[in-house]
């Protein structure tokens, strides 16, 4: 008993516990690496295969072109953005909602001797790492598969890094929010009704500027966080295409990350402390 009781006070335990919480998630991920790869790769791979490889071969080569740029170039930032984004739902919302629900297996992590918010933050940070990894996997895929060469030019590394990191955290916090408020039996439904509209209206397949001819939609999609991720990456990776001013998209990402982070930590604490 003395051995542990004499140890450092809880605040000094914090980094160790935080690292352990991340190590646990990593172990679980390594138990089934294939599931990570499949859920990351399948959607972008199928998309680029059909629309940027198959279409040119079956004589629909100019499909989806914007401002003289081929579809592969148009969708590369968008597909990287959605890979980052949906990792947050898969890595946080789904497991959390199950662990809070039927099995209550989150218990032991919640009972770690650190502030509750830290348990949540560890989950989000690990999810963010997975998001970055997903981006790194999707990038070469979307670059190499298209039949017509994709034109990439990193206009600003800071914008690229900042956009990727903010988007990864934002996605993790969104996952945390959904995972703590949505009951496990409704999570599949919530996924179904969020993922599809967020992706299709997330400026993944077209730049935001090209929506100017459908003005009401151009304004409406500003409520979709994925829009800012796609646009910030577009500014960083394919500057030849029209894109939002990166200061605007990065500011929106920062604000959304802070607001969602605050809200999700609140709902998490609410869930674990009656």
């Amino acid at each position: 008993m003395t051995e542990l009781s004499n140890r450092s006070e809880p605040w000094r335990l914090t980094p160790a516990a935080f690292a352990a919480l991340i190590a646990r998630d990593l172990r679980v991920l390594l138990h089934m690496p294939a599931s990570f790869l499949l859920r990351t790769v399948l959607n972008p791979l199928m998309f680029v295969f059909v629309f940027t490889y198959l279409y040119p071969h079956i004589g629909a080569g100019r499909f989806g072109e914007v401002a003289g740029q081929n579809l592969g170039t148009v969708v590369l930032p968008g597909l990287v953005a959605s890979a980052i984004f949906f990792q947050g739902l898969n890595a946080v919302a789904l497991p959390l909602s199950m662990e809070f629900g039927a099995t209550r297996e989150i218990e032991d992590r919640v009972m770690a001797p650190v502030a509750y918010g830290l348990t949540a933050l560890a989950k989000v940070c690990f999810s963010a790492l997975q998001s970055l990894l997903a981006a790194a996997i999707v990038f070469p895929l979307v670059y190499l598969v298209p039949a017509v060469p994709v034109r990439i030019q990193v206009s600003s590394w800071p914008t690229l890094v900042l956009a990727a990191v903010l988007a990864s955290l934002l996605a993790g916090f969104l996952g945390l929010l959904l995972g703590t408020v949505v009951e496990v039996r409704k999570i599949a439904l919530v996924f179904a009704v969020t993922i599809v509209p967020i992706t299709f209206l997330g400026c993944v397949y077209y730049p935001w500027a090209s929506l100017h001819s459908v003005r009401w939609l151009q304004i409406l999609v500003l409520a979709n966080p994925l829009v800012y991720v796609s646009e910030a990456l577009r500014a960083a990776l394919t500057p030849a295409l029209p894109h939002m001013n990166p200061i605007a998209s990065l500011s929106a990402l920062t604000a959304l990350t802070l607001v969602l982070g605050w809200a999700a930590t609140k709902t998490f604490t609410h869930r674990v402390l009656t």
Partner: protein, 326 residues
Amino acid sequence: MSRVIGLYHSGPSGYVPLSIDGLVKRYPGSSRNAVDGLSLEVSVGEIFGLLGPNGAGKTTTISVAVTRTRPTAGTVRLAGTDVAAQAARARRRLGVVTQANTLDRSLSVWENLYFHCRYFGLSRREARRHSDELLERFGLAERRDERVDRLSGGLAQRAQLARALAHKPSVLFLDEPTASLDPQSRLALWDHVRGLRERDGVAVLLTTHSMEEADRLCDRVAIMDHGRVLACDTPGALKRNLTATTTVRLRLQAPPPPALLDQVRALRGVERVVNDGNRIEVVTAARDGLVPHLVSAVGAGLLDLSVSEPTLESVFISLTGRKLRD
């Protein structure tokens, strides 16, 4: 056992592992208190039982003590630390086995222990060594790499106990630890819990709605109902101090008519009569001469009769007028 009890109340430096003082919990939107002014202390090495029916407030009491429910009023101190004010610090001093199995299903048995140790700041090497030891000690070594959802109820409960102890807490909370176990696993778990007292000197607060468990495992028992403690003492003293001490159980051919129950109630020395189908339980302080009177009152409908010495069940009935499992 009495030797140990003597020790509790004269702890070396007045060190009290767990003290609950005037605890009240009212859940939002509820019109009554789930815990209603509960106070108790548990000493070093003591196994303390909260005995009460469903809804008595046992789980709520534990939940406040383990920092997961905010108290409405009152305080819980764990080794001097106020659990509401310093939750993270308090969590280092406590281990808990909840009513439901909360083992981490994504991990193996060993990994459950290993990561638990690491959440509590043990180094990788220490955590590995300690997890191995715990598996040995709790007879789980052969199941080391198995997924936890493959474990039987008894083994899962043992794994949970091992995990709760892995960071060497001063107080261990067990919420209905044997409620879902078969009799054999139940006895095995009791042995482990007794072993803790001797080996780790840990104080144990457990809840149960089993009279037998309270009687055989606990050094002291608090009988709880509607969020309050009705009586608190050693099982022996609870039974001794009770005025109504003996229970006569009658089994009849058919449910008795109300007139017969009234007749039985009117007999001298009868404290309480509980009727359940064709069974009658008569609780009495003055047993002498009662049985012949009962027999003649019931008459030819009597199938069977037994007389039993006081149990905690009879203590509970005399305190609340109800049976524990109503």
